[in-house]
Amino acid sequence: MIREIILQICQVAAVLLLAPLLQGAILQFEERVQMARGPGLFQPYRDLLKLFRKQIVVPDTASWIYWITPFVAFTAMLTVPILIPVLTDFPLPLSDMGDILGGGLVLTLASFMIVLAGLDTGSAYGGIGSSRSVMLTILAEPALIVVFVGITLLAKSMLPFAVNHLLVKNPAIYLGPAHLFLIAAFFALLLVETDRIPIHSSTHIEVYMIEEARILEYSGPFLALLKWASMMKQFILYTIFCNVLLIPWGLSQQGTALGIAGSLMALTLKFLLVAIAVVFVETAQSRLRFYRYQELLAASFVFAVLSIIGTQLS
């Protein structure tokens, strides 16, 4: 029991500590693809450290929502790793608190609070960012829900662990069209939710920003917490994509120290693979116009619907 609690703490710590590394790796690869040197793999850690040392400047118009949002967002991102298979393929203590929908709810709570905080200070950019991100959520949510329904119909269960076990045991289901369409649909959502290019812009501060605009009024440690939370969100979504859908192998089955080290190695390799795909998309694609956002999300929706049809046909 003690060991399982330690494992659970390890899972959360892995997400907490490795999330900036994933972000740094993606940014570094992008720079290298463009024949530039890049800031280095560890730049996000240095950025966070710098922000934590700075002072906090609060707008006069800010209310209590402004103050609690960084903590709510950060705590939400610390909660989700408990529910999903990060290092072990068996449920650890408290991972029965919620299923896939529960995890999605906690993730959405964080982004809801950030939307409110963007509106809270009354600045023009915060309002624009919040309204754009709500628009995007309205477009992305149906696809996400249909993906969840597809996963549920595939595995007859909403627990990520059950999906993982099913795919490992049945290569026929893994290679079936239903599962592969789910992967395609989820990949499009992954790009949308982690601020990647067909929707979001590649530079941080410019007119079309969405995520950055919402947190433009934050500074110092608050900004660091919010940035860290968004990196952790990216890490969590990559974990769900890899460990539940794309590559369900390579997780520790007994929870020994060696197994955990092995599954950390496997996690690195898996994320490297997905990061290379994401870097390819970011390099080959340009940002879509605002009124063409629905094209990518509609494609994702269609794939999810096709996967549901696939589960019904077979």
Binding site: N170, A172, I173, L175, P177, L306, L313
Partner: protein, 226 residues
């Protein structure tokens, strides 16, 4: 028949590859850029090559590996290269005047697919192959044929028409791979050369059209002249 008794892994691989190539046919139907047609066609040919190889592996037909290699090379590289050369020389990037919008064409294509699904169910039942991968292969084959016909009908650039013809042929080839895998090698090679000749003839025809009519769009061809 191979399709009647397959192990589940093989049948999911076959159905996955078949459905991916159907999706690529829809990509061609939904886009209006000629380059996109070409990339989708090349990708589809590679998927079909993979299908040939996996049918060869699971069904025990070693000659299908050679067919897969030929398919990958000719349909996946050489034909797209020839068509790309034609596009490059013609300087036509996309269909400018469409009379059915790409999105409406997609809906028409979906209706065709539903129609072929019912047909395939009937055929599958009468052959005693219901609930096997054969139904899916029939569906994909017939709907790729219908999508090819649809592209031949609603597009009027000469290049989209040739690509429509090539999809149609890809569909037949895909269905044949799953339904009757032991086709003689010679037939496959003959079909490949047929395709080469089609594309070469089209290349000549297109250049003729450009010099004499000044356009490759079938909308401009209003007079019957020898």
């Amino acid at each position: 028949m191979l399709a009647a008794n397959l192990d589940p892994v093989a049948s999911s691989i076959f159905s996955m590859l078949a459905i991916v190539s159907l999706v690529l046919a829809f990509v061609m139907l939904g886009s209006r850029w000629l380059n996109n047609y070409l990339y989708a066609f090349a990708a589809e040919s590679w998927v079909i090559a993979a299908l040939s190889a996996s049918v060869g592996y699971y069904g025990g037909y070693p000659e299908l590996y050679l067919v897969a290699g030929l398919t990958g090379f000719f349909r996946g590289l050489f034909l797209p290269y020839l068509v790309w050369r034609i596009i490059y020389r013609l300087d036509v990037a996309r269909e400018i005047h469409v009379f059915v919008q790409p999105s409406s064409t997609l809906v028409l294509g979906a209706l065709c697919t539903v129609f072929t699904l019912t047909v395939a169910y009937r055929v599958g039942e009468s052959l005693g192959l219901a609930n096997t991968v054969a139904v899916l292969a029939l569906t994909v084959m017939l709907s790729m044929k219908l999508i090819g016909f649809l592209m031949l009908t609603v597009r009027h650039e000469a290049l989209s028409q040739i690509l429509g013809l090539l999809i149609l042929e890809n569909g037949i080839f895909l269905g044949a791979q799953i339904l009757v895998p032991g086709m003689p090698m010679l037939i496959e090679i003959v079909i490949l050369f047929d395709l080469l000749i089609i594309v070469a003839c089209f290349g000549v025809l297109v250049r003729y059209l450009v010099t004499h009519v000044g356009s490759t769009s079938s909308l401009k061809l209003r007079r019957l002249v020898g």
